[in-house]
Symmetry: C2
Subunit: 354 residues, 2 copies
Amino acid sequence: MTAVDPAAPTGRAAKGVPVARRGRRRGETTVAVVARLAGVSAPTVSKVLNGHPGVAAETRERVEQVLREQNYRRPDAVTQAPMLEVAFQALESHLAIEIMRGVAQVAGARQLAVGFTETASAPGWLDQVLRRRPVAVIAVYGAAMRREHARLAASGIPLVALDPTGEPVHSVPSVGAANWNGGLTATRHLLELGHRRIAMIGGPPGFLAARARLDGFRAAMDAAGAPVEASLLRSGTLSYEDGLRHGRDLLALSAPPTAVFCCNDLLALGVYEAARRAGRRVPDDLSVVGFDDLEFARWSGPALTTVRQPLAEMGAAAAELALTLAAGDVPPRLRVELATDLVLRASTASPFAA
Amino acid sequence: MTAVDPAAPTGRAAKGVPVARRGRRRGETTVAVVARLAGVSAPTVSKVLNGHPGVAAETRERVEQVLREQNYRRPDAVTQAPMLEVAFQALESHLAIEIMRGVAQVAGARQLAVGFTETASAPGWLDQVLRRRPVAVIAVYGAAMRREHARLAASGIPLVALDPTGEPVHSVPSVGAANWNGGLTATRHLLELGHRRIAMIGGPPGFLAARARLDGFRAAMDAAGAPVEASLLRSGTLSYEDGLRHGRDLLALSAPPTAVFCCNDLLALGVYEAARRAGRRVPDDLSVVGFDDLEFARWSGPALTTVRQPLAEMGAAAAELALTLAAGDVPPRLRVELATDLVLRASTASPFAA
DNA sequence: CTGAAAGCGCTTACAG
DNA sequence: CTGAAAGCGCTTACAG
């Protein structure tokens, strides 16, 4: 019993799961079984399992389905140096660091490595990830689509979406923030200051989180009996450039808004610049509210009032969720939604002051 | 000054780290090898490995010793995906994302996972890293000290410092930026605009990169015959708060500077805020130059003129260097220093205009 | 793209 | 207690 087990440090998984054994696997689905059920050979199953090329798409799908149905597990799945993979669609995301910090914290406490992938720049990323066999994958902001999900599922690797959409279509467990509420709160704040002509610069059409923020905005406006003019409703990419463009257009209106609610902080900074160029002061001539609360929000001039997404906590929650699924446990809920807060700083004021 | 072009394929780019495989294990100690060295059969080694009964105590000990000597690992442990570990001292570092992007790019092209550690928040990080057996470790901004270096070296894991200091003391291969040159160029720019009373807010004493920037500043001032007044030379942490504090103090001087060169962008943003509070305009009343060129530099108001460190390229160069060392090759040079550029934006102007 | 055959590393069952 | 032989599950190399 006291035998030395040199592999123990790397080999032992976090949870008390039995150590994988190489020989006979009692009652477990084997590659051979999967091959028979899928009507292919063992080598083909092996290729699918490892994301190797040289398998027809149709064959791959059939094998993946059997793999899923039979809940295939690799014999060494448990024995691996456990790691948690985080896939970002694009690293330009200013949210990335905060999220990584949350993930790293949870993973570190569990002695788990954190892997890191930028999907946009690496077309074959999923093959690589499959080869690495992480304990779970966290996909940030749409980094994993339906097809990827299927392949991960086939390999028995749970996927968690860190994504504000909460889109239930994919039925992927997910972590997000209270976007609708954030939009509501931000808008209420502006209404309470006395604003009525409030513009909103929204996000791209397909982005559900942006839609939720917009809906929150509308709800607050409706509740206050404030009209939402079409000319004050803009949308674009969540970028500084689009903030600048829309800000300029809004300020050039014959009846410009007295306040702008921006779908993220980058847009807000673009509006800042538009105001500067138009000779308007924030907040005296124009109130601005952002969304995200990126670190630079409090360093901007004036410090930006914004809706805070708790990104580190979201990362941590995603990691917790992923690890629960990886352990084969059923998480208390498949959708975790964290609260947003309005952070009051110096970019909003009453429209009557000026 | 530029030494490594990450995009350029080296002589044998395909070389790299062996991909994990289930079958053959090249060069790894197998049960068969251990058995031969211990003068027993493979089944006996297997029993020892798994703590099964039916092995004489003496035999067991002999086997265990060989196991240890040969650093035997279970094949599943070997199946671990090769990975490159990046250790950040603190994730708050605003440089982290850019660096990670560069590392991820190189690693992705080589099918390598990128691991991710925040050392400040994880005291036992090195133990964890050693357990993971990364192909190499990249330590960002002082994340690895002399002791860690020794332990990594003992485990045959190469260490690369991504660090502006270029401190030759530890003889750790490193990647940095041309800090002295950056300081010189930034200061020259201000001198050419006509400034003479130029302040500098430097970094903490122990931080050699900050010292290099300061020395570059002095060199430019000396060359121009501009005096460096002690009251215009400040130092502190590389933070917004210290920028604000020193900015306020500098502007309160009876003869305030007409320009400030800041040791990083955060300090510059603090100076912005100090100027706003003092009712001074940038750049009309005060020119400001930063260092780093973080993304938000171009979104600040006014857009910040700053010295760009090519962080992504630095990350990529560090990864290349690390992989070269991991492959057992001798890199062309042990210190890679990438060039810095002055990025002219809207925060500097002639002192005569106002 | 596919799979028969060979092979790998480890374990099991069993004879000595 | 020990190990030759058989076997397991998976992967690789290669011919079709």
